[in-house]
């Protein structure tokens, strides 16, 4: 126990050590996170009137980002399945970074839900009267927190074992949890999709394809983010990132994105060919309703970006290095963010169930809160990677010294 506390203290101190690039990156993120905190404090005082949300469009940027990030947490599992189920050795080296990402991203999800609450100090009511199993939101509370705990356990156990120079007991403490995490990752998407698709009063959400599309787009955007992250880790740390891992992820993204586009086409066909009342929200999203067309440029950008990214991925790229893959990944992250964030949440509210058309535009304060959470998430992830790399490499273990302790030796 004492050893564990010492481990935590040493990790904490290690997170303050780095070169100037590290300090600059962390300083910028801290500043943005503090700006976000400041904006959130203003929101706490003046209420959600500081956001662009109204009774007509009662969910906006926060819930959109929440939805997108739940998908991002899938990145972990797309590394885990090949690594543990198909015993791919290349992925074994990097799987922990996917799980760390899941931890950081789930924390961001929980923050986005919290800032969306009108009376956050009453969260304790969740423990006192939990409307389970009727409310899908309670399911979401369970699966998100459960996923956080599972991934915290897996990553924490691996890192601490390496720190103590012990061989991890894979059969008892690792593999069962990894297998649960795979199923669990699917569940966080499914439950979050059900949150929307179960509402009969919102035709835009009320169809069965929402959950499959969630999973398809998540398995494209999540691994796309991981592809970029792994390269950053490979470049700025001493950790070895095998190129084959990236190639494998490319295959995953291609399959997932192709399915996603197919589901999108099925959805569009059904909506537009039938031409029923269902159409109004979809029509608003793609073509606008009268002079109300705020989302039209966004969604067409997303369609363009996603299609181009898919084409880029399909191009043969054996001898061209990774720039083609990286470009496609950046495009996918942005494109799916638009499509599955604002493009999924906002149109469901326009028009209202009574046919009123009121548009939504996030306010500056709202955007700052959102940016703050993103910065905080990246900050967390950077610190976790910062600690994990030397520990797994065996540079920081129970009987080696900490950089700050090296300094102490030098002065003694």
């Amino acid at each position: 126990m004492r050893e564990y506390l010492r481990f935590l203290v040493r990790c904490f101190r290690l997170s303050f050590v780095g070169d100037w690039r590290y300090y600059t990156w962390m300083l910028v993120l801290t500043c943005i996170a503090l700006l976000g905190l400041n904006a959130y404090c203003k929101q706490l005082v003046s209420g959600l009137a500081t956001t662009g949300m109204t009774d007509q469009v009662s969910w906006g940027l926060y819930i959109a980002n929440f939805t997108y990030l739940v998908g991002m947490a899938a990145a972990a599992v797309m590394l885990v399945i090949p690594a543990y189920v198909y015993r791919n050795e290349d992925l074994h080296e990097v799987v922990i970074f996917g799980e760390l990402l899941a931890v950081a991203v789930i924390i961001m999800c929980l923050l986005f839900v919290t800032v969306d609450l009108g009376s956050p100090e009453r969260f304790i009511h969740l423990f006192l009267r939990f409307n389970f199993p009727l409310s899908m939101l309670t399911w979401d509370v369970i699966v998100l927190n459960g996923y956080l705990l599972i991934n915290l356990h897996i990553t924490g156990y691996l890192i601490y074992s390496a720190y103590r120079k012990r061989e991890p007991n894979k059969r008892l403490f690792l593999v069962p949890f990894v297998l649960v995490a795979i199923v669990w990752a699917i569940s966080i998407h499914t439950v979050t999709a059900f949150l929307y698709s179960g509402l009969g009063g919102r035709p835009f959400w009320n169809h069965a394809i929402i959950a499959p599309r969630f999973i398809a787009s998540a398995f494209a955007a999540g691994p796309a983010f991981i592809v970029l992250t792994l390269q950053v880790i490979g470049r700025f740390t001493t950790h070895h990132v095998p190129v084959n891992a990236l190639r494998l992820l490319r295959q995953v993204i291609i399959v997932a994105m192709t399915i996603n586009v197919f589901l999108l086409i099925s959805e569009m066909f059904t909506e537009f060919y039938t031409g029923a009342d269902h159409l109004l929200s979809t029509h608003y999203l793609y073509f606008g309703l009268g002079e109300h067309r705020a989302l039209v440029p966004w969604i067409w950008s997303a369609v363009g970006i996603n299609t181009t990214a898919l084409v880029l991925l399909y191009l043969p790229q054996r001898n061209r290095g990774l720039w083609l893959l990286n470009t496609a990944c950046v495009m996918l992250i942005v494109g799916i963010w638009i499509e599955k964030g604002m493009g999924l949440i906002v149109p469901a509210f326009i028009p209202t169930p009574l046919g009123e058309v009121v548009e939504y535009l996030p306010t500056l304060n709202e955007v700052l809160v959102g940016l703050g959470i993103w910065a905080f998430g990246l900050l967390l992830y950077t610190i976790m990677v910062r600690i994990t790399v030397p520990v797994l490499k065996g540079d920081l273990t129970v009987d080696t010294l900490h950089p700050t302790e090296v300094a102490r030796m030098a002065t003694a």
Partner: protein
């Protein structure tokens, strides 16, 4: 022992041994100074970031008793009385008016329903404003529970309704008018989705909210197919600033002191509210405020379990319909047009022209 963390990291360089008071502890003056400046700067930046919290008032921060107050259904009579006392004090403190607030329970053998005669409604919106006044709704911004649609003749498709009609006189001869408020569904989607059971259906059919339990997630607002729920995006006020400047007592004069816990007591920022069929009136034998004000008698309200009530008669004799019946929400709010159902008249029996073909399995 060497550590390679971030190649070329400047850790070693900054900590070359220098004597000084801290040297024994392994801290050089320079690194100590640097750490202190960093920590102080960080704390200062953090303090600056959370400085808006200084403007939090007692309206935002609950007292310990309020914070620990139980869910409506779990409160003992004593605890309810204490909760009511806290509300009395708060209202008196803010408006200088002592409210008559109680927790009025549903009556046995009563299930309320509403019926609205679309042939009579003239779209004057008096019900909207009577409701705002009765239920202490915020005037800045104004929260209204009732939305009146101006509908072109020839359709009941609400997507064709005009929400913002503004005429010198009503009704317009080319339109009819359709007021919509909470339909008090027998199968309410809003109740199902609430994660903390802050909203539920009472035995008399009214869906209520415990304003002290709602966490403000607005899932119910997304779930409601009738757009009947309203959220307090900011601290509700009973008058606009310019009205208060003209008459400082205007909020007190507007406050309706006849209140009940589950209906029209003042709400706070960050919680949901909605129509509750004026339960503080209707559970005591009175009519809802929207009905009382209606100049043309378009609104009918009563107990559907009483076979002789107005509303029971309307269900029996009029061809009523509900909005979005296909969603299975089973509204307790019925619309009808003012003509008699021919089958309810004493017409002579007539021989019919044949029956529908039987289903295949029946004919086998």
């Amino acid at each position: 022992m060497s550590l390679r963390i971030f190649e070329g990291s400047g850790v070693g360089a900054s900590t070359c041994g220098r004597g000084g008071p801290g040297a024994r502890l392994g801290v050089t003056r320079r690194s100590f100074l640097r750490a202190s400046v960093g920590a102080a700067g960080g704390m200062a930046a953090f303090a600056a970031a959370i400085s808006p919290l200084r403007e939090l008032t007692s309206e935002h921060i609950p007292s310990l008793e309020q914070f620990l107050q139980k869910h409506y259904k779990e409160m003992t009579p004593d605890e309810m009385e204490a909760a009511l006392d806290r509300i009395r004090e708060k209202v008196e403190h803010r408006y200088k008016v002592r409210p008559n607030i109680r927790d009025i329970k549903p009556m046995d053998g009563v299930e309320f329903i509403y019926a609205l005669n679309l042939s009579r409604c003239i779209g004057c919106r008096r019900c909207v404003h009577a409701c705002v006044a009765e239920n202490n709704q915020s005037r800045d911004p104004e929260i209204q529970y009732i939305r009146v649609l101006e509908m072109p003749r020839g359709t009941t498709d609400i997507n064709q309704g005009n929400h913002h009609y503004d005429r010198a006189t009503v009704p317009d001869e080319n339109h009819f008018y359709m007021p919509i408020q909470c339909h008090q569904c027998a199968n309410p989607p809003c109740v199902k989705v609430c994660p903390v059971e802050a909203t539920w259906q009472e035995p008399d059919g009214i869906t209520v909210i415990d304003y002290d339990w709602c966490i403000g997630c607005r899932y119910c607002e997304a779930a409601c197919p009738y757009w009947a729920r309203r959220f307090n995006f900011q601290q509700p006020k009973l008058a606009r600033p310019d009205e208060i400047a003209a008459d400082p007592n205007i909020e007190a004069s507007r406050l309706n002191p006849e209140m009940s816990y589950l209906s029209n007591r003042p709400r706070r920022q960050g919680v949901m509210e909605k129509c509750h069929f004026c339960l503080h009136r209707t559970r005591q034998g009175r009519m809802p405020a929207c009905l009382e004000i209606c100049p043309v008698g378009a609104r009918k309200f009563g107990n559907v379990l009483d076979p002789n009530s107005d509303v029971s008669n309307i269900l029996k004799t009029k061809r009523v319909f509900v909005l979005k019946a296909e969603l299975g929400t089973l509204p307790r709010f019925f619309y009808y047009f003012d003509e008699r159902d021919p089958t309810a008249q004493d017409l002579p029996a007539m021989e019919h022209g044949g029956v529908a073909p039987k289903a295949p399995e029946e004919s086998r």
